[in-house]
C-alpha cells in the first residue's frame, strides 16, 4: 500500500513537472510557430467554409446568370433569369411576404419575449414551471408547430368549430383560408414558437444586471416599469442584437413552417422565398430560376444585415 501511494505521488509530481516544462516551452516558442500550428488545425474548417459556403454561394450567383434549366449549363444569359423572376407574380408575393413576415415576426417575438422575461424577473412564484412552459414550444420542430396551428386555425376542425360547438355560431375566425390574411397566421405561429427562446436569453441578461443599479433605482424611487424601459432594457442592447439576428435567420430560412401550415396557400398568398427556391429547384427542375431567387434572397439579407451589424459594432468599438 505505501509503495502504491509513493508511486502515485511520484507520478503526479512528474506530470506536474512535465506540465511546467511544456508551459515553459510554449512560452519560449516563437509566435510564428505557434500560429502555424493553430492555422494547421483551423485549415480544414476554413477550407470547408470557403468551398461549401462561399464557393456554393458564388456558384449559385454564377448559375443565376446562365441559361441553366434542368441541369447547370454555362451559357451566359445576363439578367434574363432575373427578368423572368421579377415578372413572376408568385415571386412578387413571396418576396413581399418575407419583409412583412420578417418585420412582424421580429417585432412580435422580441416584444413578447422581453415582456415574459421582465415578468419572470419580478420573482414570481413557480418561476421554474413558467419558464419551462414558455420554453416548450421551442423544443417542437417547425413541422409539428405548423401542423398543429393548421389544425387549430382550420375553420372546419379547429378553434372556430369549437366555438360554434359552444353555441356561438356567428363566430368567424378563418384567417388561414383567406388569401389576404393567411400570412399573419404564419406570424402567430412564428412568435409562439420563438418567444420562449428570446425570453430565456433576455432573462439571463436581466439576472446579470448589477444589484447596485437596482438599489440606486429604488433609492431614486423610479417605478419598476420605467426602470425597465429607460434603464435596464437599454443596457441589454447587445443581447437584443443577438436576439434579432437569431429571429432574422429563422425568418429568412423559413421553409418547414410554411410548408406544414399553409403550403404557401390559399393560392400562393402566404408563399415565402425559401419555399419558392425549393419548389423551383426540386419540383420544377428549374435551376436557373431557383438560383436567381436564392441570389436575390442573399442580396436582400446582406443589404439589411450588413449596415445594421456595422452600425452596432461601430457603436461598441467607440
Amino acid at each position: 500500500m505505501p509503495a502504491d501511494r509513493s508511486v502515485a505521488v511520484r507520478r503526479i509530481a512528474s506530470v506536474r513537472a512535465a506540465g511546467s516544462i511544456t508551459a515553459q516551452a510554449r512560452a519560449g516558442r516563437p509566435y510564428r510557430v505557434r500560429s502555424l500550428a493553430a492555422k494547421l488545425v483551423l485549415a480544414p474548417t476554413v477550407l470547408v467554409m470557403l468551398v461549401c459556403f462561399y464557393g456554393s454561394a458564388l456558384w449559385t450567383v454564377y448559375i443565376s446568370m446562365t441559361r441553366s434549366f434542368l441541369l447547370p449549363t454555362y451559357i451566359f444569359a445576363g439578367g434574363a433569369q432575373y427578368q423572368r423572376l421579377f415578372h413572376t407574380p408568385r415571386w412578387q408575393v413571396a418576396y413581399g411576404n418575407m419583409f412583412l413576415f420578417g418585420a412582424l415576426d421580429i417585432a412580435g417575438t422580441l416584444f413578447l419575449g422581453a415582456l415574459l422575461a421582465v415578468l419572470l424577473d419580478r420573482r414570481v412564484h413557480f418561476e421554474g414551471v413558467f419558464r419551462t412552459i414558455m420554453l416548450y414550444p421551442l423544443s417542437i420542430s417547425f413541422i409539428v408547430t405548423g401542423l398543429t396551428w393548421q389544425w387549430v386555425l382550420s375553420p372546419t376542425i379547429g378553434f372556430q368549430h369549437f366555438v360554434h360547438g359552444l353555441g356561438w355560431t356567428d363566430f368567424v375566425f378563418d384567417w388561414i383560408t383567406r388569401p389576404d390574411r393567411a400570412i399573419y397566421t404564419l406570424v402567430f405561429a412564428g412568435i409562439w414558437h420563438q418567444s420562449g427562446l428570446i425570453m430565456a436569453i433576455m432573462l439571463a441578461g436581466l439576472r446579470g444586471v448589477d444589484r447596485e443599479i437596482w438599489r440606486a433605482i429604488r433609492v431614486e424611487g423610479i417605478p419598476a416599469w420605467r426602470a425597465y424601459i429607460s434603464i435596464i432594457l437599454p443596457m441589454l442592447r447587445p443581447l437584443m442584437v443577438t436576439c434579432i439576428v437569431l429571429i432574422a435567420i429563422a425568418v429568412v430560412k423559413s421553409y418547414d413552417l410554411v410548408v406544414a401550415m399553409t403550403n404557401g396557400g390559399p393560392g400562393f398568398s402566404s408563399d415565402l422565398p425559401g419555399k419558392f427556391v425549393v419548389d423551383f429547384e426540386f419540383e420544377r427542375a428549374n435551376i436557373g430560376q431557383a438560383s436567381a431567387a436564392a441570389t436575390v434572397m442573399l442580396g436582400s439579407v446582406l443589404a439589411i444585415v450588413a449596415p445594421y451589424l456595422y452600425f452596432e459594432l461601430a457603436r461598441k468599438n467607440r
Partner: protein
C-alpha cells in the same frame, strides 16, 4: 477456436454468394400505402418465382425517390430499375443517355401494338423504347356518395350544366356539393376535367398537345375559367390546402356528394371499408364520358455495364409487361393494365368502364399535365390556377390570357 472461425466465415461467404448468383434486382419505387405495397408485392413475388431475388427499395414520395435514384446514377451505382411518372421528365432522362434501350424485348413481347398510341409516343426516345408502363390511371373520374344521391333522389351529373343545376339543391340539403381541397394537385385534376368536359376535347388537345397559345387564351378557355370560378361557392370552408385523401374522406363519410379524383381513390375507399356500388359509385367526370386523362406509372432501367444486372433488367421488364401479371398488379393498384390485350374480366366495374372509354381509340386518350408539359411549365400553370381559385374577384378573361402567355413563353 480457429476451426469455428473458419466455419463461420465459410457460412458468411456462402450466404453472400447465394443471392448474387440469383439475379438480384434492386427496384426503387414510392409505393408505400396499403394498396400500393400489395400491388408492388405482385411484381416482387413473380420475380422471385422466376428465379431472381427482388430487393425492395421504397422511398417516401416521388421527390425522395427521384433524388436518391439520380444520386445513385451519378455515383456509378444505379438501381436495376426505378419507378417514374411518364412524361417530359422521362424523356429528359433519356436525353442525358441514362436509360437502357428496350427495343429487342419490345419486339419479342409484341409490346407496342398492344399499348395506347399516346403511351407509345411518350415511352420512346429517338425511336427506341426506354420505359415500361405498368398501369393506366385516369385522372378525370368522379367518385360519389350513393347515400347522398339516393337520399336526394338524384342521378350523378353527366354534364357540368347538370352539376350546376343540382349543386344548390345538394347544398340546401346540408351536404357539400363538391369535395375539393384547394392545392396544386387537386386543381390539376379539376381543371383537366373542366377543360375536357366543358371546353371540349378539341380545345384540350389544342392546348395540352399542340401547345397552341391562341387556343389557351380563347373565349372557350374564358368559359372554362368562368365555370371553375362558379364552383367556389359549392366547396366547404375547410377546402384551402386540404390533402386529397382528407378531401375524399368527406365523400366516404357522406358529408360531400362527389369529388373529381383519379381512380387511385378506390384504394382509399377500400381502406375505409367502403364498397363500390353500395357505398360509393364511379363515373367519368361530367362531360368526360369519352375522355380518359391518362396518368401512367412506368419503370425505367438505368444503363448498367454488369451482365448479371442486364439479365436482371431483361427479366424484370418482361414480367412487368406480361399481361397477366399487369392485371394482378392493377387489381391492387386500382388502375387499368397498360396492355390493352390484358384480360380484365376480374377487375371491378370502374375498371370495365375505363377500359371501354380507352378502347374508343386514340381520340379518347388525353395526356395529363406531366405528359403534356415540363415540370417548369406545369408549375407555372398550377400557380396561375391555385391563385385564380383563391381569389374570388379574379377575372376569368385575365386568367385565360395569362394561360396563353405561359404557353407562348414555354422554355422548352
Amino acid at each position: 477456436m480457429q476451426k469455428r472461425a473458419v466455419v463461420v466465415w465459410g457460412l458468411v461467404a456462402a450466404l453472400a454468394a447465394g443471392p448474387a448468383s440469383a439475379q438480384k434486382a434492386d427496384v426503387m419505387h414510392w409505393w408505400t400505402s396499403g394498396g400500393e405495397s400489395r400491388a408492388v408485392a405482385v411484381f416482387a413475388k413473380e420475380y422471385d418465382a422466376r428465379g431472381g431475388t427482388w430487393v425492395d427499395d421504397a422511398s417516401v414520395g416521388p421527390q425522395a425517390e427521384h433524388a436518391a435514384a439520380l444520386n445513385r446514377i451519378a455515383g456509378g451505382n444505379p438501381p436495376t430499375a426505378m419507378q417514374w411518372n411518364i412524361g417530359v421528365a422521362v424523356r429528359q432522362l433519356a436525353e442525358q443517355g441514362a436509360l437502357a434501350p428496350l427495343d429487342d424485348l419490345a419486339k419479342k413481347g409484341n409490346w407496342l401494338p398492344n399499348l395506347p398510341p399516346l403511351l407509345v409516343k411518350n415511352m420512346s426516345y429517338n425511336g427506341q423504347v426506354i420505359a415500361v408502363p405498368v398501369d393506366l390511371h385516369g385522372a378525370n373520374w368522379m367518385f360519389y356518395s350513393t347515400k347522398v344521391f339516393d337520399e336526394l333522389k338524384m342521378q350523378p351529373p353527366k354534364t357540368w350544366d347538370e352539376l350546376f343545376a343540382m349543386a344548390p339543391k345538394i347544398k340546401a340539403a346540408g351536404y357539400i356539393p363538391l369535395a375539393y381541397g384547394a392545392n396544386a394537385q387537386q386543381v390539376d385534376w379539376l381543371f383537366e376535367a373542366l377543360l375536357a368536359g366543358a371546353g371540349g376535347k378539341d380545345l384540350y388537345r389544342k392546348v395540352w398537345v399542340d401547345h397552341d397559345a391562341k387556343a389557351a387564351g380563347s373565349a372557350d378557355m374564358v368559359h372554362v375559367f368562368d365555370l371553375m370560378g362558379k364552383l367556389r361557392q359549392y366547396v366547404d370552408a375547410g377546402s384551402p390546402n386540404r390533402k386529397w385523401n382528407d378531401t375524399l374522406a368527406l365523400v366516404e363519410t357522406n358529408k360531400a356528394a362527389l369529388m373529381i379524383v383519379g381512380d387511385w381513390a378506390k384504394g382509399d375507399f377500400a381502406a375505409a371499408g367502403k364498397k363500390l356500388g353500395t357505398d360509393y359509385g364511379c363515373q367519368m367526370a361530367p362531360g368526360n364520358q369519352d375522355a380518359y386523362v391518362m396518368t401512367v406509372d412506368v419503370f425505367v432501367f438505368p444503363k448498367n455495364s454488369k451482365p448479371d444486372q442486364q439479365a436482371a433488367q431483361d427479366k424484370l421488364a418482361q414480367l412487368m409487361m406480361d399481361p397477366a401479371v399487369q392485371t394482378r398488379f392493377n387489381a391492387f393498384k386500382g388502375a387499368l393494365p397498360a396492355r390493352l390485350d390484358a384480360n380484365i374480366a376480374d377487375l371491378d366495374a370502374c375498371a370495365q368502364l375505363g377500359q371501354k372509354v380507352i378502347s374508343g381509340g386514340a381520340a379518347n386518350q388525353l395526356p395529363n399535365f406531366a405528359l403534356a408539359f415540363s415540370p417548369d411549365t406545369q408549375g407555372q400553370i398550377e400557380d396561375l390556377l391555385v391563385n385564380y381559385w383563391a381569389n374570388a374577384a379574379a377575372s376569368p378573361a385575365v386568367a385565360a390570357k395569362q394561360l396563353g402567355t405561359i404557353i407562348a413563353n414555354e422554355s422548352q
